[in-house]
Subunit: 245 residues, 2 copies
């Protein structure tokens, strides 16, 4: 049984259309490679009570939870206090981290900077040699920043910790079929071969009209599903095949 | 009091990292322009019970709800039956729509195609002259497809229906300040001027290190907040200003 993951993206800038969310695609790909199933993503406002409520639900319903955003020094950065409240623990200043912040900012250090050393009691700090500041892990919740470059670097730290279960594999058939025509076939293949079959139509100038995907952890089952699908499709409408790697 | 909106994005392809979600940015921008506050986005799997549960919560907690994805002819398209279940109504085949589908696909028409005419009882079909197929509205829920080109066209149909309340306005100051240094200033301006102040750091080769945004519905209040912020910032660190339009 694979682990189930969820993500909470915090940011008014995404919900007002100022910034296009860029961290979920990266997270989704990494979890797929690790064989962890991303089941649910919630995007919410920079509002402490809202984050507390969302996080308190996700940390119980899912094995692993990621947050993105709301961890800087300004008034709209409220994710860390919300994590503490969701776990019912106090915030304490991590003196080692506060010292590193003072060393880094020197005479320019403000209370805003030092707030970044205020962590939920019981939180762990994870690091490798690629990140300047550590990643906060609170039980099954990993707290990551919204800025995509830093999110990506910190995600690598989390990847090392999560390790690998059986990775997911994916195959695809690109066709010029009409989606309605092959609907019954795809439903039958999903049931008979116990792989997850997806169907993604396109209405642009692409070389195919429907991409059919076959996902699972068993390479033989995926291959068999692809073969069964190919046997039933008009070969003249099959544009190309990607086997599971 | 502005209307509150939520969105439910349905799609395994997004949660497995195969496809980058592209409809939320468009929806978020449109709602901001209309003065409707997008409060929450949930991304979930193509799983009927999950969609029912998510939608049943969102339709009650928010004034307007949008779904994206899961409305085609294949087995993984389960949004429409889920909408019916969330509202506790039966699915019925819309005979007008079924006839249009038969006219369109002719002899190639399958039961998969015709399933697209199965609608929740009480649902309305909205259209304008730009869309080939109508948009389903079920009370406060608008059901849109996942394919971005069609999502965009159908969203225009919904825009006409939603009309405009007081639109949101946004101003921005791009600075080379350090975020921690201006944190206290930004918190004070948000409180004193009653506008929503956001702070977005960058760590790339951009010409600025922090973009500060000022959102609200009152242009004078936004202008005053921008002026107050400029008066307190080192002018040498201000890169450029965008006034609220």
């Amino acid at each position: 049984m694979s682990r189930r993951a969820a993500a909470l993206v915090v940011g008014n800038e995404i919900l007002t259309g100022k910034v296009v969310e860029a961290n979920v695609p990266l997270l989704a790909k990494m979890l797929f490679e690790l064989g962890i199933s991303l089941e649910r993503v919630v995007i919410c406002r920079d509002h402490e009570d809202t984050i507390v409520r969302e996080l308190d639900a996700l940390r119980v319903s899912h094995d692993v939870v990621f947050t993105s955003g709301g961890v800087g020094p300004t008034h709209d950065d409220v994710t860390i206090p919300a994590v503490a409240k969701a776990f019912g623990v106090a915030i304490r200043r991590d003196e080692d981290l506060a010292k590193r912040i003072r060393d880094h900012f020197g005479a320019r250090t403000t209370e805003g900077h030092l707030r970044m050393a205020d962590l939920p009691t019981g939180g762990l700090l994870l690091a490798n040699d690629k990140v300047h500041w550590p990643v906060l892990a609170m039980e099954n919740v990993y707290v990551l920043p919204g800025v995509p470059e830093i999110f990506a670097r910190k995600l690598e730290v989390v990847r090392e910790r999560l390790g690998e279960s059986a990775p997911y594999l994916s195959a695809a058939i690109y066709t010029r079929c009409d989606e309605g025509t092959i609907a019954a076939l795809l439903a039958r293949i999903e049931t008979e071969h116990r792989v997850l079959v997806g169907s993604y139509p396109r209405f642009d100038e692409s070389d195919h009209s429907v991409k059919v995907t076959f996902d699972g952890t068993d390479a033989k089952a995926i291959d068999a599903a692809v073969d069964a699908c190919l046997a039933a499709l008009d070969p003249g409408l099959v544009v190309r095949i990607e086997r599971a790697r």
